[in-house]
Symmetry: C2
Subunit: 585 residues, 2 copies
C-alpha cells in the first residue's frame, strides 16, 4: 500500500541517537528517501457499475467542455470584478433564509460531542434549506459554482439508491430484517451531525451524497477526471479517491492544469482539536492528504485551530491551555500520517498567530459580514464574537501570502483543500472573499463521512467508544470492536448466507478494507465471493481486522517515533520551504 502511514516516521526514528536540534533534524530529513506514490495501473475499479460508467461518459463532454481548461486569467479577473461587489450581499441574502449548521471544528468528521449536536436539530441543515441554495439560478457563484456537469445524469459510484434493496442484518443484532418502505425523515448533514434518512418504519437509509453534492453546488468527480488525474500525475488515484470516499470537488481541474504546466500550488488542511483520542475517521483524511502531497510533491500547511468548547467550569485560561496541549498531542498523530517533512508546516493558531498570517485574518474578517457568518454557521445573538470571527481564521491559510517562509509575498498561488463535504460552506465564504481580496480561490476536494462501525448512515464519533476504531486501540480491541459492532451485509444465518449471498456494499468490514486496499483485483474477489456466499461475514470481518490492525499498528509505531523535537520541527515558522514545483521524472 502506498499509504503506509509509518514509512516516513520510521525512517525518522533511525538517526535518533544523540541530541538533535531542529536544524540537525532538518538536515537529516532532507537526506531521507521518501516513499514514492504507488504507480500501479489497474483497470477501473469494479465499484463503478457499467451503468454508471456510461453515465460518466455522458457527463464527460459537459465536464470537459466547461472546466477542463482554465479560463484566461484576464477573463476571470474581469468577470470577478463585475460580480464580486454584489456577491457577498447576494450570498448573505441567500443564506439568511436558511438554518445552517454551527461549527465547532473544521475539516474532519464530527466528534459527536458538541453541545450543539446534543441540543439536537435546532441548528441542523434541513434538506429544504440546502434546496434554497441549489434551487435558484440567480444565486451568486460563490454559493453555486457554475453547473458544469449534470449531477442528475451521473450516477454516484456508491449511490445508496442503486443498492439492491435486500434484507440485511448484522450478525450480532437481534432485530429482524425488514424492508425499507420509503423516506419518512430526510437525511441531515452538518458539521455536528450526520444521519441518513429514515423510512416510514423508523429504519435508517443511507446518506444520499448525490443529493448532498447537488445541494452544495459542487461537482462530482467523474471517471474522466480520475483518468486525467492518473495521466497527469502518473500515479493511480488513491483507493479513497477512486472508490469514491473523496467524491466531489471544486476546481480540481485547475490544480491538475497547474501541475501539468509546472505551476506552483499547495495543499491545506487542518484540525480543531477537540478530543484526546483520535480515531480512524480523524486520521484517514490526513493519510489521504499525505498521499496527495507525495503525489504532487508540493508544500502542505496544516492549521491547528484554537477552537474551544466551553468557558464554564474550568478557569478560562486553564481551558485554553488544555486545548493547546491537546493540539500538540494531535500534531504527533498527524505527523505519524507520513507527510514530506521539508515541505510541511503545521501551524497552531494559538502558538503562531501573527505577522503576515494575521494581516490576512484582519483582511478576511473585513470581507465577512455578520449575516454571512451567522447564516453559514447558524449562530445566534447569544453566541460570542469569537465564533463569528472564526471563519476568518479558517480561511486565512488558503491564501499563499499568509506563509512568507514558503511563498514570500506571492499571493497568486492557489491551494487545494481536502476536507469533509460538511466543511464546504466555510470555503464558499473563503472563495468569495478571495475575489474581493485579489487572491486566488482555493480548490476543494470533498470527502464523504467515514461510516461508523454501526453502518453507512452514521459517522464515527470520539464520544462513542464503539462507533470507531481509535488509533490507540490495540490489536485485540480492534478485533473485538469489528467482530461485535461492525454492521454486516451478510445474512442472518450461515446457511442462508451460503444460499443467498451477502451484500458487500453495506458491509462495514468490506468498506473499511476498501479504504486501504490498493489491489483492485483483491477487492473484486472479496465482493464476488461475498455475493456468492462463499465468503462468510465472519471471514470478511477477519480480512478487515487484519487490514485495520496493520494500519493502526503501523500508525502506532510511527506515532511512537515522533519526538517533541520533530513536533517542533514541523511547527518552526522560520523554516524555509521551497514552493517550486519539482519537474516530473
Amino acid at each position: 500500500m502506498s499509504l503506509d502511514p509509518n514509512s516516513t516516521p520510521q525512517r525518522l526514528q533511525r538517526p535518533s541517537a544523540g541530541h538533535r536540534t531542529p536544524s540537525t533534524i532538518a538536515n537529516e530529513l532532507s537526506k531521507l528517501e521518501l516513499p514514492p506514490p504507488s504507480n500501479l495501473h489497474l483497470n477501473p475499479v469494479d465499484l463503478v457499475s457499467p451503468m454508471s460508467a456510461i453515465s460518466n461518459m455522458s457527463a464527460v463532454s459537459e465536464d470537459t467542455g466547461d472546466i477542463s481548461g482554465p479560463e484566461p486569467e484576464a477573463i476571470i479577473a474581469a468577470r470577478h470584478k463585475a460580480r464580486s461587489e454584489s456577491m457577498s450581499e447576494q450570498l448573505s441574502a441567500q443564506l439568511s433564509q436558511m438554518r445552517l449548521p454551527q461549527p465547532e471544528r473544521i475539516f474532519g468528521p464530527d466528534e459527536g460531542e458538541s453541545d450543539a449536536a446534543r441540543e439536537g436539530e435546532g441548528r441542523a441543515v434541513r434538506p429544504e434549506d440546502w434546496e434554497k441554495i441549489y434551487g435558484d439560478d440567480e444565486i451568486p457563484e460563490a454559493v453555486k459554482e457554475p453547473v458544469r456537469m449534470s449531477h442528475s445524469k451521473q450516477a454516484s459510484r456508491v449511490n445508496p439508491e442503486d443498492l439492491p434493496k435486500q434484507q440485511t442484518i448484522p450478525e450480532d443484532v437481534e432485530e429482524p430484517p425488514v424492508k425499507s418502505t420509503g423516506v419518512a425523515k430526510e437525511q441531515k448533514i452538518t458539521p455536528f451531525d450526520v444521519e441518513g434518512g429514515v423510512d416510514a418504519e423508523g429504519r435508517s437509509l443511507g446518506i444520499d451524497y448525490n443529493k448532498t453534492v447537488q445541494k452544495f453546488g459542487a461537482s462530482l468527480i467523474s471517471q474522466d477526471l480520475l483518468e486525467r488525474f492518473e495521466k497527469v500525475t502518473g500515479v493511480k488515484p488513491h483507493p479513497l479517491l477512486r472508490r469514491g470516499t473523496f467524491f466531489s470537488h471544486r476546481d480540481l481541474n485547475i490544480i491538475l492544469d497547474r501541475y501539468e504546466k509546472g505551476q506552483p500550488f499547495y495543499l491545506y488542511t487542518g484540525r480543531g482539536p477537540s478530543s484526546d483520542s483520535m480515531h480512524m475517521g480523524h486520521l484517514i483524511p490526513f493519510m489521504f492528504t499525505a498521499y496527495l502531497q507525495r503525489t504532487f510533491n508540493v508544500p502542505l500547511v496544516i492549521e491547528i485551530t484554537g477552537t474551544m468548547k466551553k468557558i464554564k467550569g474550568k478557569k478560562p485560561l486553564d481551558l485554553l491551555r488544555h486545548y493547546k496541549r491537546m493540539g500538540q498531542d494531535n500534531i504527533k498523530d498527524i505527523i505519524a500520517c507520513g507527510f514530506i517533512p521539508e515541505k510541511t508546516y503545521i501551524m497552531s493558531n494559538l502558538r503562531r498567530m501573527g505577522g503576515a498570517f494575521y494581516d490576512n485574518v484582519v483582511l478576511m474578517a473585513k470581507t465577512i459580514t455578520l449575516s454571512q457568518s451567522r447564516n453559514v454557521f447558524g449562530f445566534s445573538d447569544a453566541d460570542n464574537v469569537g465564533m463569528y470571527h472564526f471563519a476568518a481564521i479558517q480561511a486565512t491559510p488558503a491564501f499563499s501570502n499568509s506563509f512568507p517562509q514558503i511563498f514570500g509575498e506571492r499571493d497568486d498561488i492557489p491551494c487545494l483543500i481536502p476536507c469533509a463535504i460538511d466543511q464546504d460552506p466555510y470555503f464558499l465564504l473563503t472563495r468569495d472573499a478571495a475575489d474581493r481580496l485579489g487572491y486566488k480561490k482555493p480548490a476543494l476536494l470533498h470527502s464523504k463521512f467515514l461510516p461508523a462501525l454501526q453502518g453507512a448512515n452514521t459517522k464515527m464519533s470520539a464520544s462513542q467508544e464503539n462507533s470507531a476504531i481509535f488509533m490507540t486501540d490495540d490489536a485485540k480491541k480492534i478485533q473485538k470492536k469489528i467482530r461485535s459492532h461492525a454492521f454486516s451485509g451478510g445474512r442472518a444465518t450461515q446457511e442462508e448466507h451460503r444460499r443467498l449471498g451477502g451484500d458487500p456494499d453495506v458491509d462495514v468490514a468490506y468498506q473499511y478494507i476498501s479504504f486501504f486496499e490498493e489491489d483492485d483485483e483483491r477487492m473484486n474477489q472479496l465482493a464476488k465471493d461475498y455475493r456468492a456466499g462463499t465468503l462468510s461475514s465472519g471471514e470478511m470481518k477477519d480480512h478487515c481486522i487484519a487490514v485495520i490492525q496493520k494500519i493502526v499498528g503501523d500508525f502506532q509505531t510511527a506515532r511512537a517515533a515522533v519526538t517533541d523535537e520533530i513536533v517542533e520541527y514541523f511547527q518552526d515558522p522560520t523554516r524555509k520551504i521551497d514552493p517550486r514545483p519539482v519537474p516530473k521524472a
Copy 2:
C-alpha cells in the same frame, strides 16, 4: 512645566553618534536621568467654586464609605461569582434597547472623518438611550458602577450650566450675539461625533459633562480625590486633572490604594491610527499619560490597533500596509510625548499579535456575545465580523498576563486606563469580562473632549484643518489659526470689552492655556484681568499662541530626535520591563 514633551527624547538624541542596536539603546536609556514630576503644592484651583467645594464635602462620606479601601478579595470574589453569570445577559438585554455608537478607533477624540460620522445620526447615542442605562437601578454593575457619590449634589468644575449666560461672539465671525433660549436639540456624544445641545434658535450650547458622566454611570473626580492623589503621590495633579479635563473615573481610588501600599499596577492607553497628521487633541492624552507614568513610575503599554476605514478602492493588502505605516508614524509622535523608555511597551497589533496576548484575545472574544458587541458599538448585520470582534482586541491589554515580558504569568495586576469619556462602553465590556475570566478589572480615568478652535461644544477633527492645531503646524500657522479661528469670550468691540469684560470660561485661547499652564496664580490673574476687561481678547490669544508655539515647537524638536531605532526599541516584545513598584523617596 512638568509636561515638557521633549525632555526625554532630547536626551535620547545625545548618544546618537555611531550605530546603535536595540540593546545598546536600552543600555543608554537605562542610564538617563528622567525628569521628575513637578512637585508644586499650590492652593486648590480657582475653577472650583466654593459651592462645589461644599458639594464635594457632602459627597466625601459616601465616596470614602463605599470605595476608599478595597474590599477583601474574598468578598469581591464571592460577589463576582454570584453575579457574573447573569451580568452579561443583563448587560446585553439592557444594551439591546439602545442605539449606541459605532467605533472605528479608540481612546482619543474622534477624527471626524469616519463614514459612520458622515452618515449622520443613525448610530449616535441619543441622550434618552443613555438614560436607559442610567435610569434603572436593576442594571448590572458592569453598566452602572455602584453609585458611590451623588452626582447631582456635586457640581462639575466646568459645568456649562453654571457658566454666566452672557453674550459671546468670536472676533472673526459676523453673526450677531444672541441669547440662548433653551434646549431644542440634545447633545450627542459618540466616538464619532461630539456636539453640544442646540437651543430653540439653532445656537449651540456646551456639552453637559455632568449629565454625560451620570449616564455613563462613572464617578466624578472630587476635590477630595484630587487631594488624596497629591497626598499619596507627592505630586500636584496635572493641570488637565486639577482643571477638570480628566473629570471622571472608575476605581481610581483602588489604584491610589495600590500605589500607597507599594502594590504593582500599570497604565494602558492606545490609538487606532486613522490620520497621518496628529493634532493636539490626539497628543494631549498621551502627554497626560506620560505625566501619570512619571508620577507613579509604573509600566505603560500603548496599543496601536489595526483598525482600517475602508476596503474598497485600494487593494486590501495595500490598504493594510498603508495603515501599518501610519501606525509606525504615529508611534514616533507618541514617543515624543516623553514616556519612561525602559517602562514603556508600544504594541502594534498588526506587528505583534500572538502568544499570551492572543490567548487573551481568544478568551475575551469568548466572553462578548454578539448582542453586546452590536449594541455597545451600534453595528448592523451588514457590518463585518472583524468589527464585532474588535472589542476583544481593545480589551486584551487591560489584562496583565497579556504581557509576559512585563508581568510573566501574573494575571492579578490591574491597570489604569486614561481615555476619552466616549470610550467608556468598551471598557465596561472589559470590566465585565475581567470578572468572568478571573482577571482584575481595569480602572479608568475619563477625559472630556478637547474643544476645537471653534468652541467648547465641538472637538478637534483631523479632517477639518482649521478645527485644530496640528503637531506639524509651524509657529506662524499656529499664530494664524488661533488669531483667526479661536472662539473668543471677549466682547464685540474693544470699547465694549473694556467696559463689560470678557468671559474666560468660554474663551478657547484661555482654555488652551489652562491645559498646560502649571502656575495657578497666573491662570487666576489671566481670568481676573479678562473679566475686568483690562486684558483684551487679542492679548489673551497672544498668550495662548506663545504657550502653544512652545508646546508644539518642543514637541517637534522631540519628534525629530525619534529615530527608527528608538521606535523599534519601544516596540521590542522581548525587552523585559520591571513591573515592581519603586519605593517612594
